[in-house]
Amino acid sequence: MQTHDRKMLVIIGEAALEKSLVRDARSFGAHGYTIADVRGGGERGDREARWEADRSIEMKMICDAAVAEKLAQHVLASYAPNYALTLFTADVGVFRPQKF
């Protein structure tokens, strides 16, 4: 069975961004998204998920390269200056190309 190339854009950041990120993902044309609760640490210190202000999420979207690129650009410009945030992309293969 053949797989089709897509991009997976992964955004790790403050839980406060969840609503906005979901809205953005939809408006930039991602067909879906998946979110997990995570904890972690980076430039902006440790985020241990002990209480509201300290929670982080990891959001992943599978989409075509163009959508991933535009969404990433928007997220970087809108949130990266002020929020704990990590972004990366990876190449993935999907089986149902029309779905993503």
């Binding site: 002990r50 209480w51 509201e52 202000a53 300290d54």
Partner: protein, 309 residues
């Protein structure tokens, strides 16, 4: 000092000593929901026995008090801080800490000092105004616009206001008899749950010490001076409104307290350029414990002083 405050101390010690004690996230959420609802219910039952119109002046005054505090705090904070940070911290102090309210109420009860029955309504009303003023302060003279619609929604349907007001409404509708079957959960357990929540608050506050050190002495001093000053203002307003000594002391504690449930969430969205480590550090790392251990008895003194007793 209320015995439950020792639980805060235990949590603080555990965190500072890097113990592996950690309350599950969902327990934190569950306890917070319980406390808000229980406070609302209790207030509602008492409100039911009183014509609502008589509370109107106090309600309006409380809203005004919450809105004024950031205006007083902001210029002082601006001496050392960027606009966004000053505005955000001001917003935290304009809003209120529900747990400080609970501890103050229980302290007064232990001292046999009566308080007005509608104080939980005052708590609900004082959650939001300070936050709104803080956001306006942050945006004044800036190109960024305020999303008034989203803000209004946040203010009215944010978790804490919704649970407080929802509890109040249910309490008022069901009255004392309706409350009876749910009282074992919402009344009898209240103090114990408050103790557990304070344990968790101690664990969280202990984690703010590092941020606080980085923030420096100015903010630490503010974290002590602000509650003393705003508490005085609150006691004065309470006195002028004709509240009892207990009521004025509670209003003082509310004015002196800084929010760490509603305000951090709201400011993170509305004023993202403000550094949350500063506002949470001072609100939770300094003012909250200061109020628990020192402030609350002081506010009762204030109230007695104005009350002339």
């Amino acid at each position: 000092m209320d015995p439950v405050v020792l639980f805060f101390l235990l949590g603080l010690i555990a965190r500072i000593a890097k113990s592996d004690l950690r309350l599950p996230e969902s327990l934190y959420d569950a306890l917070a929901i319980y406390l808000l609802l229980a406070i609302g219910l209790k207030g509602g039952v008492q409100l039911a026995q009183q014509p609502l119109a008589t509370v109107l002046p106090q309600a309006l005054a409380a809203i005004a008090l919450g809105a004024c505090i950031p205006l007083l705090a902001f210029p002082i904070l601006r001496l050392k801080l960027a606009r966004a940070d000053a505005a955000s911290i001001a917003a935290h102090y304009g809003s209120v800490s529900v747990v400080t309210f609970a501890v103050a109420t229980s302290f007064l009860a232990a001292q046999s000092v009566a308080t007005e029955s509608y104080m939980p309504l005052i708590v609900a009303l004082m959650e939001a105004p300070g936050i709104v003023v803080g956001i306006v302060l942050a945006r004044t003279g800036s190109a960024q616009r305020i999303a008034w619609g989203a803000l209004a929604h946040e203010v009215l349907f944010g978790k804490s206001v919704l649970l407080l007001l929802g509890g109040l409404a249910i309490g008022a509708l069901i009255g004392p008899e309706g409350m009876e079957p749910i009282a074992p959960l919402f009344t009898d357990l209240f103090k114990g749950v408050l103790a557990l929540f304070l344990l968790e608050m101690g664990l969280v506050a202990g984690g703010q010490i590092g941020d606080l050190k980085r923030a420096g002495p100015f903010l630490t001093a503010f974290g002590v001076g602000a509650p003393l000053a705003f508490g005085l203002l609150g006691a004065l307003v309470g006195h002028l409104l004709g509240l009892s000594v207990g009521g004025a002391a509670v209003l003082a504690a509310l004015a002196a307290s800084a929010s760490y449930i509603a305000a951090p969430t709201a400011m993170r969205i509305a004023v993202p350029e403000a550094n949350p480590a500063l506002s949470i550090g001072v609100a939770l790392g300094v003012t909250f414990p200061f109020n628990l251990f020192v402030g609350i008895p002081v506010y009762l003194h204030y109230a007695r002083w104005f009350g002339g007793s």
